[in-house]
């Protein structure tokens, strides 16, 4: 099934417990992906109902976080996991934190959709938003996929692509700021889009965190605050 041999403990129950963690994390990730897609679509199509749905899903995501956390505590207490099992449990406790934050950010985007409905459509920014949302959605997807397959190379790609998203975000900001300076009456409405863009950028950061946790899980290497090429170099050294 995987390179970590999660299913090969003498204790079948232990196999099942770890597999349950993995599945639950992926399910939680799936929910967050839906939230993200729905929230951005809610802005694009001015769909208040969809925005409300995103806010509702957040409660589910929060519950996932609590339940998975509890499961991790149980495994730590009952099994005293070591090596890759320990790394998996540690990684999951961190990854659910990131997913929960991503859920929060998606909810913020949904709130911006509602605000845009109240304040009126923004004259600018929708193209930028759609563009960034597509990139971030892909990033989240690849990060979760990297976890599902324990794929370090996919994880490195996420770390690298997050840099592009940061650049994209900054250039969109510059553009919108220029527009607001030209037309100060639009500031309130454009700001709604800007907040949504900011949330997207934050979601990208959390996806990168998850990718870094995956690298820790598979290779036991802490790669936080290290450039992608440096990560590759260290992996090469380990091999």
């Amino acid at each position: 099934m995987d390179s970590l041999h999660l299913d090969q403990h003498i204790s079948q129950q232990y196999n099942a417990d770890l597999e349950k963690l993995r599945t639950a994390l992926l399910e939680m990730g799936g929910l967050v992906e839906d939230q993200l897609a729905d929230a951005t679509r809610a802005i694009e199509t001015a769909d208040g109902e969809l925005a409300e749905k995103v806010l509702k899903t957040e409660k589910k995501v929060d519950k996932f976080e609590i339940d998975i956390d509890k499961e991790c505590t149980t495994i730590l207490a009952r099994r005293q996991p070591a090596a890759s099992d320990l790394r998996l449990v540690l990684m999951v406790t961190k990854a659910i934190r990131d997913l929960e934050r991503m859920g929060d950010e998606a909810a913020k985007i949904a709130k911006m959709a509602l605000a845009l409905n109240d304040d009126g459509e923004s004259p600018r920014g929708y193209v930028e938003l759609r563009h960034l949302a597509a990139q971030v959605g892909k990033l989240v997807n690849v990060a979760l996929d990297a976890f599902a397959r324990f794929d370090v190379y996919a994880a490195i790609k996420v770390v690298r692509d997050d840099k592009d998203i940061d650049i994209e975000y900054r250039s969109s900001l510059r553009e919108l700021i220029t527009y607001m300076m030209e037309d100060p009456r639009s500031i309130k409405r454009v700001m709604n889009i800007m907040w949504a863009l900011r949330s997207l950028e934050r979601i990208g950061d959390h996806a990168r965190n998850i990718a870094e946790h995956v690298i820790y899980l598979v290779h036991g290497m802490d790669v936080r605050h290290i450039s992608p090429s440096e990560i590759e170099k260290q992996l090469e050294k380990q091999r």
Binding site: H9, E19, Q80, A83, L86
Partner: protein, 297 residues
């Protein structure tokens, strides 16, 4: 009901068992018996207390330990772990020639204590065993008083001539073993009357009474309850300031708690030696990983 319970397929364990190909023990053993076996990790240290090179141990025709090379640093706590019959206890017993007591046992290779070959035929094993003491799995106090249990070693090794000096050694040793306060008022009572944990600490006191440099411990806590175990582990931490300690244990948590480095043995071979923290979070050898995570036993 939590989400986890709701989403978890009922028969995960069953399907996992059925659908996946097991990492067969035979495959792992094959990995262990490769002829070009090499220990991974850091086997060697600077200025070692013990330096073992290419140690092979045989019981008659059967080889129990294969080409073990390992340094043990001064005042280091090193833990040896591995499945039953992997050679870890046999290896430990080589370090003070305890295997000499077994007729069919033969030791090859070089084992040096502070640069002195301990298998030199001219060497007297009695002083060697005073320098390298041993604590066994089952507490084995002599059928004598608590006082005599500790005083016996210093007496026969002629370390003291006056009664006051002997008294002092007995008290210091019992204090170091964390037993003094519990037994100071009944030193003349038999050592066998103490509880299991106290008996084990008495044996440790007896071992350190002759001022050894190294203490070998062969599963010192496996017959003790968790509280007595915690006391012994605390003691190991304190003793490591003055003594080099090699401990064989079946409890991986114990190895993780007390040792600085951990050595993993498998089928008579030393597979991996690394800092304990590394071994238990990210071991280098797949067999170490399989063992400490409970993937085979």
């Amino acid at each position: 009901m939590t989400i986890l319970e709701a989403t978890n397929p009922v028969d995960t364990a069953e399907t996992a068992a059925k659908d996946t190909i097991k990492m067969k023990e035979a495959d792992l053993n094959e990995a262990a018996t490769e002829s070009d076996h090499k220990t991974v990790g850091d086997c060697f240290v600077e200025n070692p207390k013990f330096s073992v090179r290419d140690a092979n141990v045989y019981y008659g025709d059967k080889q129990a330990v294969f080409d073990v090379s390992l340094d043990i640093g001064e005042n280091e706590v090193i833990a040896m772990i591995g499945p039953s019959g992997c050679g870890k206890s046999t290896f430990l017993r080589c370090l003070n020639r305890m295997n000499d007591t077994i007729d069919i046992c033969r030791v090859e290779g070089k084992i040096e204590l502070d640069g002195m070959d301990i298998y030199d035929s001219r060497l007297d094993v009695v002083p060697l065993r005073a320098r390298v003491g041993m604590v066994f799995q089952k507490p084995n106090p002599f059928p004598k008083s608590i006082y005599d249990n500790v005083a016996y070693g210093p007496k026969i090794h002629g370390l003291v001539s006056r009664r006051v000096d002997l008294d002092e050694i007995v008290e210091t040793s019992l204090r170091r073993a964390g037993l003094w306060d519990e037994v100071k008022d009944r030193l003349n009572q038999p050592g066998t009357g103490l509880s299991g944990g106290q008996q084990q600490r008495l044996c440790i006191a007896r071992t350190i009474a002759v001022s050894p440099e190294v203490i070998l411990m062969d599963e010192p806590c496996s017959a003790l309850d968790p509280i007595a175990t915690a006391r012994i582990e605390e003691l190991i931490a304190e003793l490591s300031e003055n003594f080099t300690i090699c401990i064989v244990t079946h409890s991986m948590q114990q190895a993780a708690r007390v040792s600085k480095r951990t050595a993993y043995f498998h089928m008579g071979k030393l597979m991996e030696v690394n800092e304990t923290q590394k071994v238990f979070t990210n071991p280098d050898h797949e067999l170490t990983e399989a063992y400490i995570t409970g993937r085979f036993g």
